[in-house]
Point group: C2
Chain length 231, copies 2
DNA sequence: GTCTATAATACGATAGAC
DNA sequence: GTCTATCGTATTATAGAC
């Protein structure tokens, strides 16, 4: 359960997941396609049942591969999971890191919410993979959250706080504003089954994202951010 | 994977989890205490690792019981899980059902958010149990969501819609307003590990709920609900 | 690189003594 | 009601042929 995510995160998509200090090895074409096939299948399984609940049998079956062949490409179950998490964290954090202190609060926060909701729609399995990892106690990404994510949040919270101090943003705790954005956007991926059943939609029907976008704009932008005072 | 939750939900805490049409049997004191001990232990394990990831070994160990003894009280692993979900749904839905059409929108919605956040704080494991069940595709409570929950949401959405039509609530999709309330409040239970790591808090430190309460009031009440127009 | 075979352990559930 | 013993299967991972 070593937290190796911190090391391999930035280059996870292109280098071998060796975990030790070895130099990255050049990959053959078949390696690239088979590893991709495995990760695609594993994402389905891990995002549904979590690390403990997933089995190599089901991953191999979903990847249309034999189990030993799967383990030819990844040392063990844990390495597949870590590779997926590493790929996810990259997608995850880019939008947050792009919030700019020099921009307009409404545009910056609105753009962030929009991108987060797009990611929720485009990468729902990654969102559920992350949710499962957190629910399990973050055994694989605890270090990452404590160090890199915290650092980034601290940075961005400072920007938001300055906007609050300048009266350009309603008084609120910046970190909790981020939590609210994360939770509302990811909810549509993590709880999509519930959302669809409550709305009476068929599986795979993603039409609710239009309404979601509208709701989040109302919630976070129409009123929260002060464009003018009226009293 | 039969969805029996619908039947046993209302009386789950006091009657035998027989599942069939048998009349509820009177329980002995030792039955009551041992079943409670099992459910308490199972809640720890299921809420962390989900149904598939949990094992009877760890539940028995946490309950300080032998595995066969555990299975003397519950027919199998699934019955323990269903009993927990049944208990949870009761806690879950009461606040929603209490939203009153005759009340004041600010007080009704504000009260609902407050109660949901209290539940998130008081029953974080139940919240994570629910999250795990949804992430896994809601195999045990799909029917419940499709029928009873949907019905209740439809009812309450109508009330909210009337407030929107009367100009007492900002124009928004009532169902998505509920989703936003659910996601933000439950986030503090489901993602508590991440929240604590990002805030630099120790495990078990729940102090962030005060800030959370403030944030949600700002987000949902201070501006969202129209108390007056200024243009 | 891919396969069959299999080792070694984990897991859900039952049998039967007490 | 609780225990030890155990059955049958599932699961992770490896060995070794091809």
């Amino acid at each position: 359960m070593s937290d190796k995510i911190n090391d391999l995160m930035p280059t996870a998509a292109h280098t071998a997941v060796s975990g030790d200090g070895m130099p990255p090895k050049q990959k053959t074409r078949i390696q690239i396609t088979n590893e991709a096939k495995i990760l695609e299948a594993a994402l389905d399984v891990f995002s549904q049942d979590g690390f403990r609940g997933a089995t190599l049998d089901r991953i191999a079956s979903a990847a249309d591969m034999s189990k030993p062949n799967l383990l030819y490409y990844f040392k063990n179950k844990e390495m597949i999971h870590i590779a997926l998490l590493a790929g996810l964290l990259d997608i995850w954090l880019t939008p947050l890191s792009e919030i700019s202190a020099t921009g307009d609060p409404t545009l910056e926060i609105g753009g962030y919410i929009k991108r987060k909701l797009e990611i929720s729609r485009e990468y729902p399995r990654e969102s559920r993979l992350f949710a499962n990892e957190i629910l399990a106690g973050a055994p694989h990404i605890g270090d990452f959250l404590r160090t890199k994510l915290k650092k980034l949040v601290d940075e961005k919270a400072e920007i938001l706080q300055r906007w609050v101090d300048n009266g350009r943003l309603a008084p609120c705790d910046p970190r909790h504003l981020l939590f609210a954005i994360w939770s509302t956007t990811q909810h549509y991926a993590d709880f999509s089954v519930q959302v669809r059943l409550v709305l009476g939609l068929e599986a795979e029907d993603n039409s609710y994202y239009e309404e979601a976008s509208q709701m989040l704009e109302t919630l976070f932008l129409s009123q929260l951010i002060k464009t003018h005072d009226c009293d």
